[in-house]
């Protein structure tokens, strides 16, 4: 299915990866400071509350920074090179590392609006990726 290194799912991440497997972007949300955070962990990294629930994100975000990997980070990425690794700020606040799905690496810009898409992995999970908003289907 894919040669990419597959996340080793654990007690923190299971809900995140399984939701992604259903093509949903769900993040932990701290009810104490009333905002989501990434990555999942048992205490809120800001206020250290353990009153955490999971919420669905809109999937919309903005590119905060990106780089073009001109060499593959291992054999799994050889076919993809050159490829974009980016930091995306979700509309809801959290920032995550991802790839931008595009045919033209030179067309990507900081500040570009993106929307989540998913690449299925084995074991019923999927990898959230992002694509330029114009390119997404509806």
């Amino acid at each position: 299915m894919t040669d990419r290194p597959v996340p080793i799912v654990d007690a923190d991440s299971r809900e995140y990866w399984e939701a992604a497997g259903h093509h949903k972007l769900r993040l932990p949300h701290c009810t104490q400071c009333d905002s989501p955070f990434f990555y999942p962990r048992v205490l809120c990294p800001r206020c250290h509350s353990d009153e955490i629930e999971w919420r669905q994100m809109s999937g919309r975000g903005v590119i905060y920074s990106y780089t073009i990997s001109r060499r593959p980070a291992g054999p799994a990425f050889k076919e993809m090179a050159p490829y974009i690794v980016a930091l995306v700020d979700l509309e809801e606040g959290p920032r995550l590392l991802t790839n931008i799905v595009t045919d033209d690496v030179s067309a990507i810009q900081i500040g570009q609006a993106v929307i989540v898409t998913f690449e299925d992995l084995e074991g019923g999970i999927a990898l959230p990726l992002f694509q330029p908003k114009e390119a997404s289907a509806s």
Binding site: P5, A73, G74, L97
Partner: protein, 387 residues
């Protein structure tokens, strides 16, 4: 103050074309440089009662408990140990910890040691770490490690402040100029900005000449009390101030992508030492990549946010410039064994002792040393001086 902590011995492993000149294992290079640093000081290994080290060898296995394996190999039974590993900045933190131990009377003679045979072993890879625990959210995306995180910071810096590829390249050009004055440096032929920009791009905007070398290496630092130092070989170098911190492992978690913790560790070190920016005669800044230097100059407050490109231009940090920096040629042109911070300290001590030959900064009395580790993750800053 008799128990003021001072550096009395330093050594670095001779290299030839980036590999250990004398060959050997990672433990051999640490033993040889430890002995050389102790000889530099005029002390015996038998007097060492504090042992500090960090590295990435022998894990799993003997490297899992690094000070223990090194202590066993060297025949040291310490009463103060420190295996702090925060990446390449570990050794600046080791100096801080050894200083505190010496000043409190917990240790009399501290040995800080490092060794790497990464080039000889060809063990350095561009690939990610295993996707476990917190790396599971990064490794699957194929970011080149560690250059990718630095590239992300550089792209954002260029976006926010208009920093140019040419300004990044100037960092590499200046480093090479210092390296041409250092017989121990691996790369000594002068390069131009055009050479840097023409070199292969690895992860935009960083070219291969924006990136540090991949070499073997090793070194050692010996510290003791000012009182003890009076009867030893070399002029003592005082550890006047220090600070350490870290913020993240995953680059997505960095609180401000273009500001490292040098903003606080530099400030704390300088406050402890009671020095202002003007009092610093020579600066040794970790240069894993050209962008690391620009971000660090801003974080340390030698220039404002976004001003480092202009600051570095026109040869300000090159030989003969107003701001001597990375005077051994740095990780970019002298050597970079994987964790470079110990070699920054060795160069600072040699500058302050007046032992730097053709690259000597005339009259250097106070040095600032800033190590950066991980992916812009950690910093530790030391202020060293002759008085």
């Amino acid at each position: 103050m008799e128990r003021e902590a001072v550096i009395v011995g330093v050594a670095d492993a001779p290299l030839e074309n980036g590999v250990l000149r004398d060959g050997g294992t990672v433990l051999q290079v640490q033993a040889r440089t430890a002995k050389a640093a102790l000889d530099d000081a005029g002390l015996d290994m038998g007097e060492v009662d504090g042992l500090l080290t960090a590295g990435i060898w022998g894990v799993p296995g003997p490297g899992s408990l690094m000070t223990i394996t090194l202590g066993e190999y060297l025949g040291i039974r310490p009463r103060f140990v420190d295996g702090t590993n925060i990446g390449g900045s570990a050794f600046e933190a080791h100096v801080a910890h050894a200083a505190m131990a010496i000043e409190s009377g917990y240790c009399d003679v501290a040995l800080i040691s490092y060794g790497s045979t990464q080039r000889s072993e060809r063990s350095r890879t561009l690939g990610g770490r295993p996707p476990i625990l917190t790396m599971q959210y990064e490794t699957p995306y194929g970011m080149l490690m560690p250059i990718g995180g630095y590239a992300l910071a550089a792209m954002r810096h260029m976006h926010d402040y208009g920093t140019t590829p040419e300004q990044l390249a100037e960092v590499a050009v200046a480093a090479r100029q210092w390296a041409s004055l250092n017989p121990a440096a691996m790369m000594r032929e002068p390069i131009t900005v055009d050479d840097v920009l023409a070199s292969p791009m690895i992860s935009d905007p960083l070219h291969i000449l924006d990136s540090c070398l991949v070499t073997d290496g090793g070194g050692a630092i010996v510290m003791t009390t000012a009182e003890r130092a009076r009867s030893l070989n070399k002029p003592a170098v005082y550890v006047r101030g220090y600070g350490e911190s870290h913020t993240h492992w995953n680059i997505s978690q960095m609180p401000d992508l273009t500001l490292t913790t040098a903003a606080e560790t530099g400030r704390r070190a300088m406050e402890m030492a009671g020095v202002s920016h003007d009092a610093i005669d020579v600066v040794e800044i970790y240069d894993s990549f050209t962008i690391t230097v620009l971000l660090t100059l801003e974080a340390l407050g030698f220039c404002g946010r976004g001003e480092s490109g202009a600051f570095i231009s026109g040869g300000r940090t090159a030989p003969g410039g107003a701001f001597p920096m990375n005077t051994n040629g740095g990780g970019l042109s002298y050597a970079h064994p994987g964790m470079y911070g110990l070699l920054l300290l060795v160069e600072a001590v040699r500058q302050l002792r007046g032992e730097s030959g053709a690259r000597q900064v005339y009259g250097a009395r106070t040095a600032l040393v800033n190590g950066t580790g991980g992916t812009l993750s950690s910093t530790a800053t030391c202020i060293l001086s002759r008085d």
